[in-house]
Symmetry: D4
Amino acid sequence: MSEDPRTEDLGFARVDLDRAARTGDPEVVYGAGKTPEQVGILRTLHAKHPDRAVLATRLSAEALHAVRELDADVDLVARAATLGPVPEPRGSVAVVSAGTSDAPVAAEAALTARVHGAGVHEIRDVGVAGLHRLLAVRDEIERVDCLIVVAGMEGALPSVVGGLTGVPLVAVPTSVGYGASFGGLAALLAMLNSCAPGVTVVNIDNGYGAGVFAARVARRTAHSTSSEPT
Amino acid sequence: MSEDPRTEDLGFARVDLDRAARTGDPEVVYGAGKTPEQVGILRTLHAKHPDRAVLATRLSAEALHAVRELDADVDLVARAATLGPVPEPRGSVAVVSAGTSDAPVAAEAALTARVHGAGVHEIRDVGVAGLHRLLAVRDEIERVDCLIVVAGMEGALPSVVGGLTGVPLVAVPTSVGYGASFGGLAALLAMLNSCAPGVTVVNIDNGYGAGVFAARVARRTAHSTSSEPT
Amino acid sequence: MSEDPRTEDLGFARVDLDRAARTGDPEVVYGAGKTPEQVGILRTLHAKHPDRAVLATRLSAEALHAVRELDADVDLVARAATLGPVPEPRGSVAVVSAGTSDAPVAAEAALTARVHGAGVHEIRDVGVAGLHRLLAVRDEIERVDCLIVVAGMEGALPSVVGGLTGVPLVAVPTSVGYGASFGGLAALLAMLNSCAPGVTVVNIDNGYGAGVFAARVARRTAHSTSSEPT
Amino acid sequence: MSEDPRTEDLGFARVDLDRAARTGDPEVVYGAGKTPEQVGILRTLHAKHPDRAVLATRLSAEALHAVRELDADVDLVARAATLGPVPEPRGSVAVVSAGTSDAPVAAEAALTARVHGAGVHEIRDVGVAGLHRLLAVRDEIERVDCLIVVAGMEGALPSVVGGLTGVPLVAVPTSVGYGASFGGLAALLAMLNSCAPGVTVVNIDNGYGAGVFAARVARRTAHSTSSEPT
Amino acid sequence: MSEDPRTEDLGFARVDLDRAARTGDPEVVYGAGKTPEQVGILRTLHAKHPDRAVLATRLSAEALHAVRELDADVDLVARAATLGPVPEPRGSVAVVSAGTSDAPVAAEAALTARVHGAGVHEIRDVGVAGLHRLLAVRDEIERVDCLIVVAGMEGALPSVVGGLTGVPLVAVPTSVGYGASFGGLAALLAMLNSCAPGVTVVNIDNGYGAGVFAARVARRTAHSTSSEPT
Amino acid sequence: MSEDPRTEDLGFARVDLDRAARTGDPEVVYGAGKTPEQVGILRTLHAKHPDRAVLATRLSAEALHAVRELDADVDLVARAATLGPVPEPRGSVAVVSAGTSDAPVAAEAALTARVHGAGVHEIRDVGVAGLHRLLAVRDEIERVDCLIVVAGMEGALPSVVGGLTGVPLVAVPTSVGYGASFGGLAALLAMLNSCAPGVTVVNIDNGYGAGVFAARVARRTAHSTSSEPT
Amino acid sequence: MSEDPRTEDLGFARVDLDRAARTGDPEVVYGAGKTPEQVGILRTLHAKHPDRAVLATRLSAEALHAVRELDADVDLVARAATLGPVPEPRGSVAVVSAGTSDAPVAAEAALTARVHGAGVHEIRDVGVAGLHRLLAVRDEIERVDCLIVVAGMEGALPSVVGGLTGVPLVAVPTSVGYGASFGGLAALLAMLNSCAPGVTVVNIDNGYGAGVFAARVARRTAHSTSSEPT
Amino acid sequence: MSEDPRTEDLGFARVDLDRAARTGDPEVVYGAGKTPEQVGILRTLHAKHPDRAVLATRLSAEALHAVRELDADVDLVARAATLGPVPEPRGSVAVVSAGTSDAPVAAEAALTARVHGAGVHEIRDVGVAGLHRLLAVRDEIERVDCLIVVAGMEGALPSVVGGLTGVPLVAVPTSVGYGASFGGLAALLAMLNSCAPGVTVVNIDNGYGAGVFAARVARRTAHSTSSEPT
């Protein structure tokens, strides 16, 4: 069973080396609950994909320290790291976030989209309680190939953005809030019930999933000249 | 026990005749689950308060028919009826609703606020997916003494309105939606988690409660000339 | 307020005539809870967009009958209708569904994607309990620009499909099931927690939302020759 | 984008300097999850609004210590701080709380209402299991312009108070309780279902939101001579 | 197996004829979902316990009609019936209910307590929004051996009653309400979290269970002269 | 795609003709939501498996009538039908149910186990509130190869049976109950938390799933002489 | 307001000195979240009720240490303390618990019942998975005036005990369990849905509430000679 | 009461020494919340069953250390320990797990099945997002007498495995995941709604329960030569 060249058996894990062939993107290290040693799997992935950055997310402080020793690039806000060169961007993604507390999720989404080959533009702190901030960036929103909209609390931002533009939009609810937010459930339900047509949703705090999806859409679209927006 | 002049014993109910003295507003007939005969309690309340309209809400088709026989005024959209003259309006309330399906709840709120003594202005179908409709009525929203904002689905409208104005705002989630709306739970949670400061919330579909509250605020404020806005 | 050319006031509704300019797609009639008369709004939309099909979804039997009188094309499985010519397809979408009971949601997704300008290929009844049926259509899945994957009960199909391909994938949970399915909640939660990277999700039974989103992705991509797959 | 005078970009946040013009009240620092350095944003707000106290809530012990260094006034029970002079009170608010464990939420509500310009009267420990304590303060309740009623556990106090008076009433459920309190859900649901007409509700433990709302009502009403009640 | 004299096998059911010997009370016919024929089991129970009324609850209109043919006494409000003489009352129970819509549950509780041997006193429509009605019957509440307190919506009545007296108190939440009442969940949670010491709770709408329990307490206590209160 | 001999394409469904080869048991018709015509798929399955009964479950009254026309054997309590000869029993299963209202689920489990090749013994109405009924059948429980234990309400029966015997036990929660039963959720949770070791659980009301599983265990075990117990 | 002799104002709390007169039992110190200093309120209560033990529950390790300094008697298992002489027992209560992990809740119930004047008999570790342990103590269960039955996980014990005896029974769900126990929710729902008639329920882990209630029933009953059972 | 030879009273616990006679398997020490001293109960069980390993699960680091002093064999991944010789295997069980984070639950299941007398084969890291890993071990899955399938997140693996084979299958949801996984609820619901026939489920993270059940099935089946598979 372990002779399959599509799989590398590390004892505690069987790395899916075939994933890039199958889906276009290599496997990613999901760091939650992993020891710094286990996060070392990042090196295995890098050896298999030397010309393309591989990614580790949800890293503890200890794991972030450990991967820095591996010469990985560390993103402290996103609590993530990459090893190897980030691809030349094709297509563009905007990551729009509602409040300052949503920053870690937005950063994970942005880094993931970059590692998966898209150019990324970040627009922060444009929550619906101050609409002028959002309306001021309307042109920036319209220009990209895919939108990621990140919000906690009542999760209203995707509905408002989705009413302003027809750019494909992925909404990310965050666990920012308290009481009847129930750990992000309120924002999740709001986004699933958006009255704006064509809003799709990922799990609470899942910046990674939104980043993969948006990069795939952007790479395929690439209707702009693919240079990273400023 | 039944000699108390503050209570009238009808066998199946003890009407709280003292409520107007205590709270400023007479008791109201909550018609859900009541037979047309039981809704006749409206006449008892009218006899006690002849110079001021009394209200029956959540009436079945049969009960609406029955109260019409009592010379009550019937509001088919609100599924409610009044008996007696509506008070001269003091202060003003705007009822702002997101979609056409929210009409029954908005109508219940509007009628209730009128019966409880406020002038009412209705602004319909200004959901957040088409912001221009809301921004076009911004002045009307700013002019009143209290706002009632009615929305189903993701319940985002109160956050957007609450970011535009400091007028006291009562949000009413409606059961409009399907699937993960869970009968209005999504809108309720969204409104409770609004990032706009000072948004308060009532039960799902509770136009009545919002109407009572807003009228009480408006009557006390009455900073305008109290004429009904157009 | 009603003089705004972007809005047509029908009394019970204010039609957002500006939506196509803003988002690329005209407003759609959401028929749930609407009377056959109210569904007549479809004619207003058609008059505004004569060269492009407009859509009404979630129609009751009575409303389906009524719109047929308007010369609309009726899709009985999707419980939906269109008025006007369906656009020439650009890009392609595959609608993959798990079981026969998911047919109405899959049909709504397929019709919506067509009306919004994409070519659509339908792959039915390939639930995970008989993997050979899915593996047999792997090539068809790989060829399209965006995937819609529809499943009820445990909602496992998107994870399996998402592990086979890197095509952008929108998952639609359905309310098919009983007991601890809780009206589609089980499938919804499963899809939100998919271990396959890049799966996004819409509301339970929301074929319409998935169709809009997927068509937008496909239209932008259009990397194939856009002819409808067979 | 950052040249807009209505916004100040601090790197990690864009302060909404326009909020006071738009809503009558400046932005507030929500301290949960913020470092002591980030709470320093309070100084930015104070510089913009030197003649009116600005507020920071939900401060950690470290942040409370840090803001004290800024010459802010610290309220240890409310875990909040203000910088600048509290406005002359207009109108009056009573904060009525059920038990001693509700003190932090009640204190946050009281401080917020004062900072937002209302006179505040606090009535503590009048839970429904000892009605004589509540009935003894009935006159004090009747005299104010707006009531804030704070309770955990079964959340019954707003219903009892709301049956005694027609003063506008905002209910605040708290997370006080255990087991089937589910972090304040029991109190929240009870308050949303209050049989007393005209009770509105804010999020669990949201003393801040209740304080903003009540102050707005009180400021507008100001039917008394606005002197702080004793 | 079927020879056991403690059990009578009716084909579709095995009647527990031993229950009265074991627990002091015969089995009861729970009529929900039973056909009128199946409710005929009441006759079997009566034959076994001829000198003591047996009870059938939750009867459909058809079943009520059918048991009337058996010479059973029918209680239309409680949707229940008894066959045989009600026992001489020992001890007393008061059934206190909050609103008119709670009447069916209160009636089931009262009839059950009578059939199980207690004297019963009914106090109706004393909800907490009009405290004077409750305070007027305080003496009646104090006099009995066990209290049953029935309320829907926010379920506050047991807390208020439980603060006035040390009489053992069983609370019955009802499904009266809408929206965030969630079929009686709000009242149930409130009662479980009562701040009044010594409140116990039964299932939503379970007047029967409360009646059995209260009668058992009252029969054992019997400190009064056991005559039925008026 | 449709040439695969493992699949028969009926237009609205693709029948998995390979399932018996793969898993030992042919596909089953799940009748919920299917028209009488669609249930006719039973004939297709019978043609493929002429020497072994095929099964249709959850049939409406109309569908039961329709399949009777196909010469199917109908089980009215189970709302199910079979076509073809039931297999010779190998191994034995006991279906133990708590109350008379659980009969339909128990009957579905029993019929399914028979169709899947096990001998079945049914033990009815042995709920835990009358333990003598259960203790009287202890030997019958001990003798079989697999137990199915069916209960609604508090779902306690599997824990009690599981403490008496080491026979493999599958628990089936039913939706029997009201109020805080929440459609069988209470019984489901209870069974998942059973303190008796080795209790496994299926979905609410899923007699079918329990029957398949138990028959598979019994067929493999077959330690007795496989004659149907009496 | 503070002159009322029924209340003693301690600054952070208003002690309800009238409670014993009103309900027969003095107020109790609920220690959760209270500092050791605040728990000193126990001395105030003792001074008011010198001839009768007063109780503090849910004490932290620090608070237990502090009250020991006050010469209070400390129960480490129950995490509670008493000050003053425990009353002469009238009537008897049995506290029956399912597993060793339920010990703290059972101990709180037992101590509370003793402090409230009942004799108490404790029966431990008689869970339903080993019925012989329960059947062995059947006589002890039958002899008392009120039963408290404590169980976590599936919460089945009250149904089994309630089927064996007609003694009034209060069930206490505990938070013992994991996964789908959801902090005691599974046991709570099971007990609310008990098929044994006359089971009442208190909040999760609420040994105190059950103890107060049971003692009240036992004191009133006192049909035995009130000597503490062995 | 304590003279019963079926029970050993340890003060804090009554050990059920009769369980092996009744069910075939001795009692097990559930270590959660137990002190290292209390886990010493393992020695009591070993003395009673010297020729057969006894098991302690859910051990803290301290308890693992303590039992090592008793010469117990410790499994660090499973956080469990055994004392005494593991039985000769009869029949075989495969433990199939989806991801590396599921390892502790899978290890608990495997150890439990071994202690309960079955041969065990472990297949790790074959999640559905890389189907080739699962298809590669299809023969190994087909060969055993009972399957345990362990998965977190969306819990899809049991459905896929259950569609490939007719071997009896017990699914174990794990708490692996975040956000809308709700501590394993998503995986639990998915498994309960599996479209593969004959899947049964245990509590979240309950490797122990699955191990007991599967071993019982395997021991009874023992159709192979019972040698441990490689």
